[in-house]
């Protein structure tokens, strides 16, 4: 097991490296993203749906909360505001606007804000809203103006500005044309300052008609082809969440590259990360006395002279076969350079040549950049259509960044798909699958096993069918990350205990057992001989592992000194296991920073060879 552990740790380091690779300089950060929720607080919003369905207001607050928490996790530097209109009470910076209630002005969301949004949810929330804000007259123009002030009060540079209106009233001013006009003017002022206005319209009896009023309020789609305005109002939380999520994050290309088909045929494309592994953020160091963050400075200096070392006074080295090989720093970089960044088409292959498991990194997404090379979208679109029609993928050599060695990728065509609500659920473009090199594949020696009989297979089919469910990728929260943030939330708000997190990737054992009923036993009777217990051996093992996990330690593994010296002499230290090497380091008083096998070997070698 020791080997497994060492191996596992390497794995972790690998992942860190990988992350560095992906996040490092992916896109230029040009400022903060900002998002204003402008929510209708009129009486209509609080009407509960049939069968106790949550009110539109309640639904909106749930969405706002989920955006708050997701911003905290994935982009805490984004600014978010929550403003109500159609209220009885007014609360805004200079109190110059009636019927507008700025609940949260533009700022980074924190624990307190999440709590405050929570307070507006459900039955209690409706009561609280009635008490603090009430429902009054509506002037969307004033509300928009107030939002404009929120934006302009911000001293930070904003890169992406979005405003989402949540309402179930298609004629908020009930035909008051002066107010309508003012709202239109204010909306266009906002749009001119770069704010994108979206409408998240909610279900109301008789349907929501976008045409008479809101069509002029919302921003025009980026180009005419975009499915800009969703004509169908939302009536489900899930839909609303999806619509908000799709707009809430600004899409940024990780890289803009040329897809080169041949000499002089360059299609400009952007690469987008559609799935980025969310990780627990790194800890921040705080000064014990004041809890203020401290900054860390790392310096490289000469051991003997104590003077700081300039980059030119440093070289890089690796040791192989007991020889230290030294290179200049720029040589180390230049070794990695093969070609300039870009995608280069090698050829095409039928889809069945792409193995499910032949990929080594999360896939990314490719979409044309008409703004870089005119005509890109047309050629890209033609390639996409034809690849998809003929069921082939394009094989390309890919250099994603400067001084990056090439990788081969499969461009897998993906046609656009929209749901009944005309919401795009798969965008058009190529999925980029990173393919493994020979080094990345491990040779396996599969054990020979008898195949199951058709009766056995059929029984299992029954089991499989009993446990069918519809997989949605957004259904599973990461319990590790969720727990971490719940803990922080509890500490930030001085709560007694963190809120419970439901582990969504835990099998619901009772439900499964119930659904299977006698099928499990029937299957076991078919495949296992009487008295066979698949769990017997490993259960015993696990028990001892738990008992011995912390308390018991393995007897010290010591190697006599002369044997060690012989290993150093022959360069055979690698044959010893990590615990033995660690023990040897202790024995000789060798201090090591790392725990990797190679580091231990290096440290011992330097010590004992001297």
């Amino acid at each position: 097991m020791a080997e497994w552990n060492a191996y596992y740790q390497n794995e972790d380091e690998d992942e860190e490296q990988e992350e560095g690779e992906q996040s490092g300089g992916d896109y230029k950060v040009t400022g903060r993203d900002s998002l204003v929720f402008l929510v209708d607080a009129s009486k209509e919003m609080f009407i509960k749906g049939e069968d106790g369905e949550p009110s539109n207001f309640d639904m909106t607050m749930q969405v706002v909360r989920s955006v708050y928490t997701s911003k905290i996790i994935s982009s805490h530097r984004d600014l978010v505001a929550l403003v109500f209109y159609g209220t009885e009470q007014s609360k805004n910076p200079r109190n110059s606007f009636k019927y507008v209630y700025v609940y949260h002005d533009l700022d980074e969301p924190g624990a307190k804000r999440v709590q405050e949004v929570d307070a507006l949810r459900g039955e209690k929330g409706a009561r609280l809203a009635a008490e603090t804000m009430g429902s009054g007259e509506t002037s969307l123009g004033d509300a928009l103006w107030c939002c404009a002030n929120l934006y302009s009060d911000i001293k930070l540079r904003l890169s992406h500005k979005r405003l989402m209106i949540f309402t179930c009233r298609d004629e908020p001013h009930r035909g008051d044309s002066a107010k309508d006009r003012q709202a239109r003017t204010k909306a266009s002022d906002l749009k001119e300052t770069g704010v994108i206005i979206d409408l998240m319209h909610l279900m109301k009896p008789g349907g929501f008609d976008v045409a008479p009023f809101f069509r002029d309020i919302v921003s025009q789609p980026e180009d005419e082809s975009e499915l800009g305005l969703h004509l169908e109002p939302c009536d489900k939380l899930e839909d609303l969440q999806k619509r908000v999520r799709a707009k809430e994050q600004k899409k940024r290309a990780m890289a803009r590259l040329n897809l080169c088909l041949g000499e002089g045929i360059n299609v400009a494309v952007g690469i987008y990360a559609t799935a980025v592994t969310a990780r627990k953020p790194a800890a921040i160091r705080l000064y014990r006395e004041t809890n203020e963050p401290v900054r860390s400075k790392t310096r490289t200096f000469h051991m003997q002279t104590g003077s700081l070392l300039l980059p030119s006074e440093i070289k890089k080295a690796q040791t192989y076969g007991k020889k230290q090989i030294v290179m200049e720093r720029d040589e180390v970089d230049s070794i990695k350079k093969f070609q300039d960044p870009g995608l280069y088409l090698i050829g095409f292959k039928p889809m069945e040549k792409l193995k499910t498991h032949h990929h080594i990194r999360p896939a990314v997404f490719l979409y044309p950049e008409e703004g870089e090379v005119k005509g890109s979208a047309c050629l890209f679109s033609a390639l996409l259509m034809k690849c998809s029609e003929r069921n082939v993928f394009a094989l390309c050599r890919c250099v994603s960044r400067r001084n990056y060695p090439p990788r081969f990728v499969a461009l897998v065509p993906q046609r656009e798909e929209v749901d009944e609500g005309k919401v795009q659920f798969t965008p058009p473009g190529f999925n980029v699958i990173y393919l493994p090199y020979a080094d990345d594949l491990r040779t396996l020696d599969p054990p020979q096993c008898p195949s199951a009989s058709q009766i056995q297979v059929d029984k299992m089919k029954e089991i499989v069918s009993k446990l069918r469910f519809k997989y949605r990728s957004e259904a599973f929260e990461n319990p590790v990350i969720q727990q971490h943030y719940r803990n922080l939330e509890a500490l930030a708000l001085d709560m007694m205990a963190p809120e419970d997190t439901e582990d969504l990737i835990m099998p619901k054992v009772d439900q499964i057992n119930h659904r299977l009923g006698p099928l499990a036993e029937e299957f076991k009777d078919l495949v296992y001989p009487a008295g066979y217990n698949p769990e017997s051996k490993s259960v015993a093992k696990r028990k001892t592992a738990i008992v011995g996990g912390v308390a018991e330690k393995k007897p010290k593994a010591e190697v006599p000194e002369d044997e060690l010296r012989a290993h150093v002499q022959n360069g055979t230290l690698g044959k010893l296991t990590v615990p033995v090497l660690k023990e040897a380091c202790k024995q000789f008083g060798v201090r090591t920073t790392g725990t990797k096998k190679q580091e231990l070997i290096d440290a011992l070698t330097t010590r004992l060879a001297a």
């Binding site: 192989y320 090698i346 095409f348 990728s473 990737i505």
Partner: protein, 692 residues
Amino acid sequence: CCWDPLVLCMDVGFSMSNSAPGEEPPFELAKKVIQKFVQRQVFAENKDELALVLFGTDSTKNPLDRDGQYQNITVHRHLMIPDFELLEEIENQVHPESQQADWMDALVVCMDLLQTETKGKKFDRLNVALLTDLSTQANQDHLDVIIENLKQAGITLQFFLPFPAEDDEEGGGDSDRRGPGHPGTGKGLSREQKESLDLVKHVMLSLDEEDGLDQVYTFRDAIEQLCMFKRIERRPMAWPCQLTIGSCLSIRIVGYKAVTEERLKKMWVTVDAQSNQKEDVKRETVYCLDDDNETEVKKDDTIQGFRYGSDIVPFSKVDQDQMKYKHDGKCFAVLGFTKQNLVFSWGQHAGVALSALIRALDELQMVAIVRYAYDRRSNPQVGAAFPCVKQDYECLMYVQLPFMEDLRQFTFPSLENNKKLSPSDTQLSAVDSLIDSMMLVQKDDDDADQKDIFKVHHIPNPAFQRHFQCLHHRAVNPGTPLPPMEPWLKAALERPDVISERCQAPLEEIKRKFPLIEVEKKKKLKTSAQIFGKDAEEPDAKKAKGDEEEDYNLADIAEGSVTSVRIRGQLTHRIEQLLSNKNTHYYMKSITCIQAFREQSVKLGNADLYNSYLQSLKRSIPNRRLEVFWDLLVQGMLSRITAGFLSNRPFLERRLHFHIIAAVPSAEDTGDVDDLVCVCDFLAFKYLTDVP
């Protein structure tokens, strides 16, 4: 526990130096084979021990040297892990010598060496590689005993010869490929060589009746195959677990990591450029407070915290461990986000059970969504287990799936529904013929098999190959520049020649049918107006705000780089530093600093420091010939002022703006000041009138 000890046994006798004019002597070729092989072993950091035995040497040095037997055979190096020392020895100490020795005797010396030096050690297989031209008559007296011994000891043999073992009976292609590179192919072999060759064949076929002759190579083929550095090989490790379905049904399985992005095991170590010693370099991290003096604090005086949105929450390691997500440990399969496992069945009964699951999934075309945790310390994942049914085995393939937190849901404009972008029929057919011409998988009409001419998973990682090539070069030729990339490696990454030829015409057609025009990029921002956005030039708020993303903005730079520079004393110091470089780039940086200084002053409610600094800076402008900088500064501040008015900033800040205006050199620049006032008035007017 598992390695393969190997003895390299090389003929250095005088016949090895014979060659036809213009051809490399067999000795040189054999030496190259050995060098290449040892290099690979050194860089692969292979634990396989290696010995070197030379025969045909002038002297004799081997344990069997007795009574005039086993003469002219030298054990040059005993079983050891190969290193650069060995490479240097091969380079400098292995020369052609003037004796001849019996290769069969040399083989016996190798066998003896293997048996004595591996006594009591565990190993997989023992190997002997013999490199010779077979010019000496071999003593066949104990042939059967030797063969029997080889078999019993489990020693495998490889022969490397200057000529192929078999004449190309099939003729044609093969001989073409080998070409004239093999001197004496078929013809020109001496009687001794012919006899020895028969003996080699006899030995090899006795060891392995079917494929024995596959282990007889020519020097040239070997060199070609050895040019590649060894690919990283890691033994897949078994991960036994149970696949559970509810609590009533479990199947014992064992997982293996099948595909993973390998990385080089070694990292670069920083060394001192003079001494090349890593011990001379020390890296140190210090912590300091975010105050004017950057007061250093001890690491022990710091605690751990985390960000929760705008809050920073102190959260000690102990608390964190106590409160963190915990789970029951190991449950069904894998490591990492993109990585996968093959899940093979474990034990026969489990085998049937798993087989039933795999086949059921396969027949239903379904996958299992599973929770996988490697062990108690690792984070659990959610993933999909795909059925995989192959001719000789069945398995489940695990692929990790993203969590909700990992997903970015983007929508992209439609391509097909856009009339302006949609390709015409002739354009589409041009793409069609391009695809036809570039198919990498060829279907043979008479053969159901498809031939894939570009298998990525057969290409060694070029980054590793290049890395080792350069390291090797530097080790062997210190002081010389790094070599160019190996031609074979370059070629391996290119479009295959057949494809390049075939797609020529279709590509031309694509070029004609699809006009591609590079959109001219905006020139690098130069003038102050461009640097600070249009509002410095045009008093039009609308235009200025419209396209902010493109603009180069002060606040941005200030945020990125200046917050790290401490305020006041340090800021002014930095400004002066930057100003010593007379260059727009540095001017802009110092303006950013001034901007940050100003904002900081606003925050602290103390404008005096800032104003007095600006005054003194202004006075020094003519002496320091910084007029250009001052121009930029004034215009830059202008744009900030307009922004300030737009946003109804507090009075204090507005006062500050006027201080800046006051700080503009007056005599020749009055025009600017007037313009400035106009700008402010205009904007203030527009917005003020609108207030309800």
